[in-house]
Symmetry: C2
């Protein structure tokens, strides 16, 4: 912006605050270009769109000096290699769902989602004030020389599309279900045979019966895959993803070179992205759900005994994982202790209010 | 930050992104000082602390050029005159709960909280994506020449402290209850006698029985007033405040003078404040609630018939208010239409997940 035109405007709006010190103090900030590689394709426009917004904001508030280019999955590195690339310094920033790196070390999952974990609001509180973000970043720094900035949440996900109804725990036996990571481990204890399939193969596998069920995300993204056309039972809730968080991951080496203003710009823009992604999914999901139901999807709740059996299986997975990984034990003990404090408080006020609003006759 | 030291660091961390263009392009941004007057005292440290954080962020990301001083209630103007002061140009920014201005025009309430309204997450979605923020700001601009930036939420509030139990709708008859605005109008239809009292007078009025009950906010703030010592029944949920939103209010005249970078800095910092206030209250409330229960508070849920009667009364208030104010009708029609879309979606996934987590035997 040209200084002269600003002064003119300010003179007109004479009530609008003192302008201190003319001539202006000149500040010289370096122009920096960084690259961000996402695990997501552009077609997941809410996930991907969030980081597009973040880098746009960073550009705006640094007067175009700190420019970050955003690259979709596969443009620089394959989707699941973004963490390695940030660690190696090939890119400065990655954007991902950290449970993708469960195979490297189960602790990565905790920053994204674990079965029967925190919901979106509870997660935000754990991360920012409960000490979760600090504790997780000690691990991330030690394990991969990176730091995670919270940057989005999908809210509780759906349980996925099933070719037949799930009425009892028995119905899970032998079920070929496209589901991964810790959720797959949990359900395997109940007889599920977890399947790993890329998004592009799910529809055809479900259609020809090579798999019995598949979970993806929330209605807005689910609807695009069209799975309700080949597996009509649409289950809820996705109890293995009660509030999956997304992150922007910075290489510590790169972050150390940032002027404090740019570091602050990145932090504040990520937090805005965090808030806006959730708000956007809440806006997009209701019409997408209606559209699928209109096209024949049958909405079903998992029976409580199924969820209870899964809850028990999840506790076994956590105990086994904690026995193998001291990092997971440390992080999950902290996470569950916070959850035990927070859930009873939500039960009092939030859940009571929400349940009333959901059941009142309008 | 000294440019020389930055260059040294960047040279050491050679993987850390290209530094484009040496010597640095110099940018000359004006130094600006603004004043923000809050409706809240410093003692409400979560509410007040949020704007302290916001202005700190704005300072950081503008390299100290855009400085906003924060003034507690009464320092520049009395707490309920901050909107007038922004309109008059005495201050550039106000910080408030907009339902305080219900008496000027009932539409102001809609941006903060109305009985049986949206919860925190639903509100964020309505404001940012559902068109609520845009629509409300058309009203705010027309009515007072100001624009509101969303900047915080307390979550569903508590129902307050009662000297005796509320078991039936009959028990509300003649109840002298410290409650204001539209919530007071609603409860008056059920026989409540709404009382307006400043915070400092509530304790003594309850103690001597001049009033029968008083509502304030959430456990963290409630505990400080000590009302549980003189009215032990602590009711939930505060169904008239399911997710009260706070705002920073900018004078349009002042905002028009801001360089685009500073405008973006203010916007992004307010959104960070919005996310962080909710996360902080969720962190602070559980121990405060425990403390009050330990000190004798008796937690009670409002009976469903009481909430149903209040819901019906609220609909009457909305119809009457819409008949009197075209602005309220336009805004509330939009708000309720959005609520009707969103609440059934929350019922499916979020509420089911939350209710399971609240009731599973650990």
């Amino acid at each position: 912006m040209e200084r002269r035109s600003f002064l003119n405007k300010a003179t007109v709006g004479a009530t609008a605050g003192a302008i201190v010190g003319a001539p202006a103090i000149v500040r010289a900030q370096p122009a920096i270009r960084w690259r961000l590689a996402s695990s997501f394709p552009k077609s997941l426009d809410t996930l991907f769109g969030t980081v597009e917004h973040v880098v746009q904001r960073v550009g705006q508030i640094t007067g175009g000096k700190f420019q970050i280019s955003v690259h979709a999955a596969g443009e620089i590195v394959p989707p699941l290699q973004v963490l390695d690339a940030a660690q190696a310094g090939t890119i400065e920033l990655a954007h991902t769902a950290l449970y993708y790196f469960f195979g490297k070390e189960p602790s990565w999952s905790l920053a994204c989602a674990i079965p029967f974990g925190l919901n979106c609001r509870q997660y935000n509180s754990w991360w920012h004030y409960g000490g979760g973000g600090k504790l997780f970043n000690e691990f991330a720094n030690k394990a991969a020389g990176v730091q995670a900035f919270l940057c989005g949440n999908t809210g509780a996900q759906m349980g996925g599309f099933f070719r037949k109804e799930i009425n009892t725990v028995e119905d899970l036996k032998g079920l070929k279900f496209r589901i991964a990571g810790m959720a797959g481990q949990m359900l395997a204890k109940l007889g599920v045979v977890p399947q790993q399939l890329p998004a592009g193969d799910i529809y055809s596998s479900l259609e020809k019966g090579a798999i019995d069920a598949a979970e993806w995300t929330v209605p807005y993204d689910d609807e695009k895959l069209g799975l309700h056309k080949v597996a009509k039972y649409y289950y809820y809730p996705g109890f293995w993803e009660g509030g999956p968080a997304l992150h922007v991951i910075g290489s510590q080496k790169a972050l150390a070179t940032l002027p404090p203003e740019y570091r602050a710009a990145l932090e504040v823009a990520c937090e805005e992205g965090n808030a806006l992604m959730m708000a956007k999914y809440d806006f997009l999901n209701p019409p997408a759900l209606k559209k699928m139901i209109g096209a024949g999807a049958v909405l079903k709740a998992f029976p409580r005994p199924v969820m209870e059996a899964a809850y028990k299986a999840a506790q076994e997975v956590y105990a086994e994982t904690s026995a193998k990984s001291a990092d997971f034990k440390k992080l999950s003990d902290h996470y569950f202790a916070y959850q035990r404090e927070l859930v009873p408080w939500f039960r009092v006020n939030e859940n009571t209010f929400d349940d009333f609003m959901a059941t009142i006759r309008r």
